[in-house]
Subunit: 436 residues, 2 copies
């Protein structure tokens, strides 16, 4: 698990905090060995035009600044490049009025490879500014990408960089989703293109520094004003036929307002896969956990169970998005505080919201609510205090019934609640005491 | 408000239930006067190919059968056509193995204009089957649409139907999102198309019955097997140049797995706009409601306040997605039951999930939880009983503090909780007692 190792060993930001990894990266690390070991042996920089105004979403905030789990989209995109060891710099080109906001984002999320540059009023002028900002670096290859495509993977960047070096230019392509047609001047169908012969041109695209620089030096004002396609400039002004590389569907671009919900679901997906359960060594807790193991299977969630906070917790601290702490009968606030301290010491919390679910199992008597009112208020207070640190604390109580059917119902309810808390990661529900 | 009138007066299904309107239709009715009054004066039928297997989503269930708020996507699409008075029949073409499922959907959601037909193994063969099924009806115009584009509006259908009648064929177009490029046989850029000269061809498309029938009779096996574009067949085999009509961005097609989250957010959007508050006539409730009015403004939600269940509730029953019932100090289960009975009498609940939030305002003493444990259990029981009827009952308690700051904090928390409950419409949280 190379990604996991690097998460613990290296990749720390200028302030000593571990670098914020994207969720997709972690997911990949878990599911299969990454071929990301392959590194290019020549300097590569990135130009990320982010001057868009978000017209198509119908929202005031440009979409690259839209927030997912309290972190702007562009920060995820930057991160996708920063975690690639062989990428040296990321030049982010933003509109003049967004320079301050962008610098703030760079600082807050500890981005280490970013240079913020002021953009022009069109896409080409912005990219051209970005390329000029790399004049002193003179990287072998420049990768051009869009700020609103956060899901680009290292392997694909590797393919693009290599093809760009070899052929002068390379670009991602995807099959066309719709038929493309040409219209007459009067608005009638002139002809339709045969779908299989054409492709949609996407990003990332790669160019040798010489090709992209010369293309922008030689191209016309008309190109800078009305063009959109860098591969076209390379062809027209440098006679370079770009290598076309089929890309994965996740290269998809956040375009419409509803794509924000789509991006949100992609970002959260890896967070639903597992949770770390701190069960303690009580027999009742063990029973609960083993029932819960089966119930969360329906959610395709895996539980990693630890009976002791000190044993092995470290390995999970940097890996897990979700923690379930089981208390039997007595719920000591100090237990939760100890866990929170460990998480805060690791300083991972400020970078992405962690879910902590405190499960209170009551084995005595029939009444489901055994806690004093003061406890409930104390949990609510603790939860409110943790929220700004992106530790989302919820609690769920359930009663250990001797009736198998009731017990099964409670466990299945508990699993359902865990599923929804982990999925929604809702700050509004923090501190609430739910019943399973 | 024509849509509103029709919701109350007509459009009942075969079993006497009001017809399930789409959420977008209601939203349109509220925001602007609809020009949907314009009706075409010739017979129009629809062919809806829904034989897809959902390969691109990577999910087992084809996307037209994916469920949103417990209702399959295709039912929303059918509904978009059924609510258009001048559309006579909707022929849904599904794969053989999905005929039973489709018939079940037609029955469950009381679709009135649908005929289910077995499809062929390609898009063109399916549409061709659908057109043949209309041979006896011989409508003037046939509209072809995709099951996975549920957000088509009456106005746009009107434009397509009229243009099809006049010109023989008409189709929706959208600007291209990506540059389209042609590849050489070796996988290099051959040339890129100038984006402004081309359009993406979308649906709905309209044809006179004669044009679409003849096109399918005359076209080749190759067309049926590998073609995808009906406008192309009309041009090639009937020499009809389709009129191209620019469509709205919502014609967007559910394509990838993450589009399911996007569609979900579009469907829920109109449900976030307002709630009906049943406040009773207590002074404390009035204070709460007036504070809440301001707080929910931040969510862009409007509250319609009723002090009495019997006065005017009828008008809201068919219009609102969200109800907030305020109890002061005493919370009588019978009050909530009365509201529930009214909603169930209207029989709207089974068609889409209604949110009922029971707010308990406690004005005595300092302890926030004044209710007996039995009450809590009773609410949980009631909520569980209502869930299968798609009445989602949640409760929130808050304490009337004399400290303005504390009170403001509670109201703002209440508003936050209402916002999240209304937005998520989560069945898992039903019956929970939350604290504001």
């Amino acid at each position: 698990h190379p990604a996991e190792l690097s998460m613990q060993a290296g990749g720390r930001g200028p302030n000593g905090r571990p670098h914020p990894r994207t969720f997709l990266a972690c997911a990949t690390a878990e599911s299969e060995p990454r071929s990301g070991e392959r590194a290019v042996d020549f300097p590569v920089c990135v130009v990320l035009p982010a001057g868009g105004t978000g017209e198509r979403t119908g929202l005031q905030t440009p979409k690259q600044f839209w927030s997912f789990l309290d972190r702007p989209l562009i920060s995820y995109t930057i991160d996708a490049f920063e975690r690639v060891s062989w990428i040296q710099n990321v030049v982010v080109v933003v509109a003049k009025e967004n320079v301050d906001q962008m610098s703030h984002i760079v600082q807050r999320f500890a981005h280490r490879k970013v240079r913020v540059v002021t953009g022009g009023c069109t896409r080409h002028r912005s990219i051209s500014n970005g390329v000029r900002a790399l004049a002193e670096d003179r990287p072998e290859v420049v990768i051009v990408h869009d700020a609103v495509r956060p899901f680009v993977e290292e392997d694909f960047l590797y393919q693009i960089a290599l093809a760009a070096k070899e052929h002068g230019a390379a670009g991602a392509i995807r099959p066309l989703v719709s038929t493309v047609i040409a219209s007459t001047a009067e608005g009638f169908l002139d002809h339709s293109l045969e779908r299989s012969k054409y492709r949609a041109s996407e990003t990332p695209q790669g160019f040798t520094f010489d090709v992209i620089s010369q293309a922008y030096q030689r191209c016309s004002d008309w190109d800078l004003e009305f063009g959109t396609e860098c591969l076209h400039l390379a062809l027209r002004y440098c006679r370079v036929h770009a290598k076309l590389v089929p890309g994965p569907p996740t290269l998809w671009k956040v375009t419409y307002r509803w794509d924000l919900a789509a991006a949100d679901s992609i970002l959260k997906e890896p967070m639903l896969r597992s949770a770390c359960v701190l069960s303690g060594d009580s027999v009742h807790a063990a029973t609960l956990v083993s029932s819960l193991q089966k119930a969360v299977g329906a959610l395709s969630m895996k539980l990693h169970v630890l009976t002791d906070l000190s044993a092995g917790i470290q390995a999970f601290l940097m890996k897990e998005w979700n923690y379930i702490h089981v208390s039997v009968d007595v719920c000591r606030l100090s237990d939760m505080e100890a866990l929170v301290t460990r998480l805060e010491v690791e300083k991972r919390a400020p970078l992405c919201p962690l879910v902590l679910i405190w499960v209170h199992l009551n084995t005595h008597g029939d009444q489901p609510c055994s806690r004093a009112e003061g406890d409930t208020a104390a949990i609510l207070d603790l939860a409110s205090a943790l929220k700004p640190n992106k530790l989302l604390l919820y609690s769920i109580q359930l009663h250990k019934s001797e009736e198998p059917e009731l017990w099964e119902g409670s466990v299945s309810k508990l699993s359902e609640l865990i599923g929804v808390l982990v999925k929604e990661r809702s700050p509004a529900l923090v501190g609430q005491l739910l019943r399973a």
